[in-house]
């Protein structure tokens, strides 16, 4: 079986990449999705707020996904559902299984990795206590409630104030559960401000910052969750414990790009993002293997996923059409002074026709700061930011003409605080 482009993952990233590749002149594309339906996690995100940037309107997750699914079908792009990729090798042979075709070996001209991410678990953050049932990751609970039609609990405590945690606080409330509190380890929320207002404040759900779960009690099902205040090194402070009587603990404690396939293929990963090291084309360390969406780095808005994935699709098409330039010595992006990471990691300016988009996250909350782009000591561009937070991804666009004059080998993004 041969395809010009094989896209692994039929969530928002994979769909956008496939459609964009098709629109850039590649016909022979296959999207492989492990779940029963296209659309990925968007299908369980039945709240609205998606698409403000891409469509200039507010859509629900399934609505947002539907637009891409329809387009995919209109364009006649092939897809396989309920199909799991077991392996990708350096020669871009994709091995997959499903119940209909059995075992598949697919030769791909280019591969786009769009496997998304998974949730961190209770185990990963070592929450002590009993192994009672009733501890769910927020995403699993969301799937049960929104897609399968079952409630997972009546009295709830949520750990983690990322967007999923906030959204689930409202969702559980609307389904008749009592959400006692959203507990956040950090002194600030990891979620969007609008979600704090619309999901917690509107329903009088307290947000307890600088708190964590220190014990889970209950023999069979969760009976109590004990939380405590933490000090500035995030260690629980004895004597500050509060006990909530509840049957459910939802965890929204971070997302991890799912790169098991990338790892076994030998693709170089960035230890900070947990995703592949990519260049301006979203190409990984294996030539012709591209990556986009949450498998590269966790995004806060699907709109940014779409934008990034379109780029991956466009460049994958160019690769297949042999139009992609390979620089001997690409420039590298480097974050300074609180810029935690930048995607892409490498830039071959020859491939940039209009602009370079840098996506980055900072390591703390900052007010009245500047993101300064530098070529060595020379300042190329400066972007003022009233508010920067680790939970919010920042995007900076650099026109191609600015890049052409770079003298050094690094594109540096530095965080500078304004004088008070």
């Amino acid at each position: 079986m041969n395809y010009d482009i094989v896209v692994i993952g039929g969530g928002p990233a994979g769909l956008a990449a496939a459609i964009e590749a098709k629109e850039n002149g590649v016909d022979n594309i296959l999207v492989i999705e492990r779940d029963r339906e296209l659309g990925g996690i968007l299908q369980q995100c039945i709240h609205n707020g998606f698409g403000l940037h891409v469509f200039k309107e507010e859509l629900t997750g399934p609505e947002y996904a539907e637009r891409f699914i329809e387009k995919l079908k209109e364009q006649g792009i092939e897809f396989k559902l309920d199909t799991m990729v077991l392996d990708i090798n350096q020669e871009k042979v994709v091995t997959a299984v499903n119940t209909v075709d059995g075992l598949l070996h697919i030769n791909a001209g280019a591969v786009v990795l769009a496997m998304g991410c998974r949730e961190r678990t209770r185990g990963a953050i070592n929450i002590p206590g009993t192994r009672a049932s009733g501890v769910f990751s927020a995403g699993t609970a969301q799937r049960f409630v929104n897609m399968e039609g079952y409630m997972v609990g009546k009295e709830v405590v949520i750990l983690g104030s990322g967007d999923i945690g906030l959204i689930m606080a409202r969702r559980m409330t609307l389904e008749g559960a009592k959400v006692h509190a959203v507990v956040e380890l950090m002194p600030f929320s990891g979620g969007l401000t609008r979600n704090i207002v619309q999901c917690l404040d509107d329903y009088n759900i307290p947000l307890l910052l600088s708190h964590t779960v220190v014990d889970v009690k209950g023999k069979d099902r969760v009976e109590e969750v004990v939380i405590a205040k933490v000090d500035d090194r995030r260690r629980p402070i004895p004597g500050t414990e509060q006990t909530f009587s509840c049957d459910t603990l939802l965890l929204s404690v971070g997302l991890i790009p799912e790169n098991e396939l990338s790892k076994s293929a030998g693709i170089k990963l960035d230890p900070i993002t947990g995703g592949p090291v990519v260049n301006e084309s979203m190409e990984t360390s294996i030539e012709g293997v591209f990556a986009c969406g949450n498998v590269v780095h966790v995004h806060d808005l699907v709109d940014w996923v779409t934008e990034e994935s379109r780029r991956a699709g466009k460049y994958a098409a160019r690769f297949v059409q042999k139009q992609l330039v390979v620089s001997k010595k690409p420039m590298e992006t480097k974050g300074e002074n609180g810029v935690r990471y930048i995607v892409p990691h490498k830039v071959q300016i020859e491939n940039i026709t209009d602009k370079l988009t840098l996506m980055l996250r900072v390591d703390n909350v900052y007010h009245n700061a500047k993101l300064v782009i530098k070529d060595g000591d020379k300042v190329i561009k400066s972007v003022k930011k009233r508010h920067l937070a680790p939970g919010e991804m920042e995007t900076i666009n650099l026109p191609a003409k600015d890049l052409a004059n770079f003298e050094g080998n690094d594109i540096i993004v530095s965080l500078q605080l304004e004088e008070e």
Binding site: R34, D82, M84, L86, T95, V97, N98, T99, V100, D101, G102, L103, H105, R118, E119, T121, R122, G123, A124, N126, P128, G129, T130, R131, A132, S133, G134, S137, G139, T140, R143, F144, V145, E148, G149, Y150, M151, V152, G153, K154, E175, G176, V214, D215, K217, K219, D220, R221, P236, D247, E258, E260, K263
Partner: protein
């Protein structure tokens, strides 16, 4: 009328059940939990010890060394993962070397083969990730690792295939002596039986006391563990103990049979034989102690933590004997470490005692020692995979993404004897949900398969124990029929 009633379906009870299946007798094994292997067996270090720890002359010493020797064949017959990877006891202080020498000598008296004290250089050659501070080690090549609950489940399944009955969800509440033997009340059932094997683990004292004078007390001892991702599963390839001190054997670091990494246990006396909680102090302690032997270990690759309880007694040795006042009542109790290793030997010994008391049983000529092997889809060749999916398409559907477990495998383990009836039971048998996402993705799917195969409603599927419900009902909107 049953010939033998085994109380407790842990690894020891199940090993005895399988031994008894070799005779033409009617045997039943009862347990209060809703799965076999659900007590001490499901949470321990999974080590097949070489046998140098126990004092010469003790039951622990003899059953450990014999049990270890029996593992190879037993695990082959039962298709249970077992690897003889060897163990180290590492010394960091000069004074530790004396202890290593004592252990070596003790092991040799116990009959442990090929014990050797090796130099720092040899240690580091075999395990380059171990700490520079290690100055020598006692190397025991016969030590190994096993899937503990898999062994118990396989023993139960094989026993059941050979005619042993299994009764779960049935706590024993009373035992009465009658002329013909005993009447055991287990849950809803009254079991008339000629003989009893008390393998009740943490509750063995309570079971004994239902019939006999109390002569031992089980002192539960808690041990907490951390389990790590497969990405760090080969950090060391040997079972690494620290030199024992007065506080016990200390924290062990080792790979698991499935390629994960395990660190544990703590040791803490507790009152409650159901106290399976983990604690922040315990988990911090593990990290601190493990750090001494594997300083570069990425502790952030942890995927879960758990606690096991060991059934200790004051005098320290196993109790494997017929009750002095109650003929045909055999206590197999106080089986703490190295109970898992010793289980195959304990079973043989307990059955010998029973045969002596009863005058012996007729051999079951049709006994089949081999359990039908499980299919591990991901380990098959491409051709085998393709063929299998052609035969049964359910092997073409991956349910557990982390461990690559197919629907076919889950259906199989639900429908076997002593099959899985809940989420954790599936995890123990097929590892679905045991990977890095801990069931985040596959949990709902596994519940669907369970509900379908067991012909029950998905809301009645539990995580583990009877009361560990997962879903509390339907959502508001789902009461409206869609399409």
């Amino acid at each position: 009328m049953y010939d033998v009633t085994i109380i407790g379906a842990g690894v020891v009870g199940c090993a005895i059940a399988r031994e008894l299946a070799k005779f033409n007798i009617k045997t039943i094994i009862v347990d209060k939990e809703n799965d076999v292997a659900n007590g001490t067996t499901k949470a321990n270090s999974a080590i097949v010890h070489a046998g140098y720890d126990a004092l010469p002359g003790t039951l622990k010493a003899s059953t450990n060394v014999l049990g270890n020797a029996l593992y190879e064949d037993l695990c082959k017959e039962l298709d249970v993962p077992f690897k003889r990877i060897g163990s180290f006891v590492v010394a960091t202080e000069e004074s530790d070397i004396e202890v290593l020498k004592e252990l070596k000598e003790q092991g040799e008296i116990n009959g442990v083969p090929n014990l050797e004290i090796i130099s720092k250089e040899e240690v580091r050659k075999m395990e380059p990730n171990l700490s520079e501070d290690i100055i020598a080690a006692l190397y025991a090549p016969t030590a190994g690792i096993v899937g503990p609950w898999e062994l118990a489940i396989a023993l139960a399944e094989n026993a059941a295939e050979n005619g042993v009955e299994i009764l779960l969800n049935s706590p024993v509440t009373s035992i009465n002596k009658v002329d013909s033997g005993y009447v055991v009340v287990a849950g809803e059932k009254e079991i008339s039986t000629r003989y009893i094997m008390n393998c009740a683990g943490l509750f063995a004292d309570k079971i004994n006391d239902m019939v006999n004078e109390p002569f031992f007390e089980i002192l539960p001892n808690r041990g907490e563990y951390n389990l790590f991702d497969k990405s760090v599963g080969d950090f060391v390839n040997t079972v690494v103990f620290q030199t024992p001190s007065k506080d016990g054997k200390g924290v062990v670091v080792l790979p698991t049979v499935h390629g994960n990494f395990l660190i544990g246990p703590t040791a803490e006396k507790v009152e409650d034989p159901n106290d399976l909680k983990t604690t922040m102090n315990g988990l911090n302690f593990l990290r601190e102690k493990a750090h001494k032997v594997i300083p570069g270990f990425p502790f952030n690759a942890v995927i879960t933590s758990f606690t096991g309880l060991r059934a200790k007694v004051k005098h320290g040795d196993f109790i494997i004997e017929e009750s002095k006042n109650s003929k045909g009542f055999i206590n197999v109790a106080a089986i703490d470490s190295p109970g898992l290793t010793a289980a195959p030997a304990i079973a043989k010994m307990a059955v010998e005692i029973l045969c002596k008391s009863s005058g012996g049983f007729e051999t079951n000529e049709s006994f089949n020692p081999n359990r039908k092997p499980s299919i591990h889809f991901i380990d098959l060749s491409d051709n085998e995979k393709a063929e299998l999916i052609k035969k049964d398409p359910r092997f073409g559907r991956i349910i557990c993404r982390c461990e690559n477990i197919t629907e076919g495998e889950i259906v199989d383990i639900v429908n076997r004897k002593a099959g899985a009836t809940n989420l954790d039971a599936v995890k123990r048998r097929a590892r679905a949900g045991g990977g890095r996402c801990q069931g985040g993705f596959c949990g709902p799917r596994v519940m669907e398969i369970l509900a379908k195969e067991l012909q029950t409603d998905i809301t009645s599927i539990v995580k583990d124990s009877k009361g560990s419900y997962i879903l509390t009902g339907s959502t508001k909107s789902s009461s409206v029929e869609v399409n």
